[in-house]
Symmetry: C2
Subunit: 283 residues, 2 copies
Amino acid sequence: MKVGIIGLGLIGGSMAIDLKRKGFADEIIGTENDAVNAAAAEKMGLVDRVADFDECVDSADIVVVAVPVGAAVRMLPRILDRFATNNRRQVVIDVCSTKEQIVRSVHYHPLRPCYVPTHPMAGTEYSGPWAAMPGLFDGRACILCNTEESDPKAVHLVERLYDALNMRVIYMNASNHDVHTAYVSHISHITSFALALTVLDKEKDEKHIFDLASGGFSSTVRLAKSNADMWVPILSQNRDNVLQVIDTYIEKMKDFREAIDNYDEDGIRSLIEKANKIKRIIR
Amino acid sequence: MKVGIIGLGLIGGSMAIDLKRKGFADEIIGTENDAVNAAAAEKMGLVDRVADFDECVDSADIVVVAVPVGAAVRMLPRILDRFATNNRRQVVIDVCSTKEQIVRSVHYHPLRPCYVPTHPMAGTEYSGPWAAMPGLFDGRACILCNTEESDPKAVHLVERLYDALNMRVIYMNASNHDVHTAYVSHISHITSFALALTVLDKEKDEKHIFDLASGGFSSTVRLAKSNADMWVPILSQNRDNVLQVIDTYIEKMKDFREAIDNYDEDGIRSLIEKANKIKRIIR
């Protein structure tokens, strides 16, 4: 099996490592349009060879689009166009964090059945080929969207790919996917960004942040290191859902503000105890 | 050296483990007013013996008050009163997360010099004697407040105690301490509580939270497991500082909201890139 990976960053690179290691791929061809990242990925041996976009798409049995979702939306129709010319059975997946717009971008493409939208729920706050690591996907969930619009054989191949990465596959339609990820994933990035901005704004003396930051602050603000190239298109493509969650979140902040402002210790306690219920869900 | 620890939870218990292990304490006497926690601490061998409050205070050379700050404020004058009766050189420290009110509570006490206000910046989101662990304080910062109001010999003893725990000691006045901890520590707890409330409110189907929560969400929401008994008095005692930070934080959230609402990708990018500067400070 030849796997072509477009974008050799954290996700594409980590996939390359494990698909080779687990024996799913015989050969991995990568393409990366940032010259430094491409050279680093080649030097680190993340892929068997680095090629240009066309060669990568033409030679692969399965193409993985692992670039920010804005670029992915423009790239996907071009890939299906090339598949049409190549005239052999090929499959393409994307691994982006929002799904509605990318699915819509090829809805009427004659080769739509060759495409399977996926979202492996794994990552770190780091990016680039140097952030790639073995085992990143291990034991995590991967969402497959709108599989009824894909060729069942393509879906089956993609299930085997994620099985090689030891991921639990979940099926969801693209629009539900975007609602749920707004609530669980996208809002936690925004709250971290806002926390970093607040603290940087106020703590002019950076040494104090460093001294006073116990483990709690570091873990809460960790996602604020996340890459703008990845997050700008996610927040902008998932605009409506994200706006709704932000509004709910601001309401909750205001509930805290009001209880503290009114010296209402019972109110503060009741908010904290409700929040504690997250224990049932997150280990 | 006999150490008396009042409150055998995460902080008191972890201190007991390491003060004994590092040889700072020959004997550790603990007191704990929750019967289950007291029995557990005794059974786990966290302390050499569990005693009542009076015996613990009377027999110790140094008393550590490791209870929520509301209770600590009421307890501290009583401890200094007992010291006056005991009529020998004794020292008391507290380890609470807010400092202005507790310092004020004994400002005019004749034995004020026997008290050293401290705040070891370490913890986890868990509580109770079963959360105690060796090495919790290792390499972290510990703040000593208003040391000019304490007997220099008492300060020196406390410095030796934190040195045994391998903490870096920082000196700050109580009011600056409360401002800085509001910005770095207290706000991150509130943002986590609010995140948990938002997600629990919206994700009626809890399985989705579990499925979709990648490492990022878990780390951002981790502090939402924190104990109400500890956090209600912190937020209420540090009211004015906390309200200010909440207001700044809500402004930052609204900046994100506005940029997303206006399809302003440059604006979103600029906010994220400013937030990324936290990298310089947090490893």
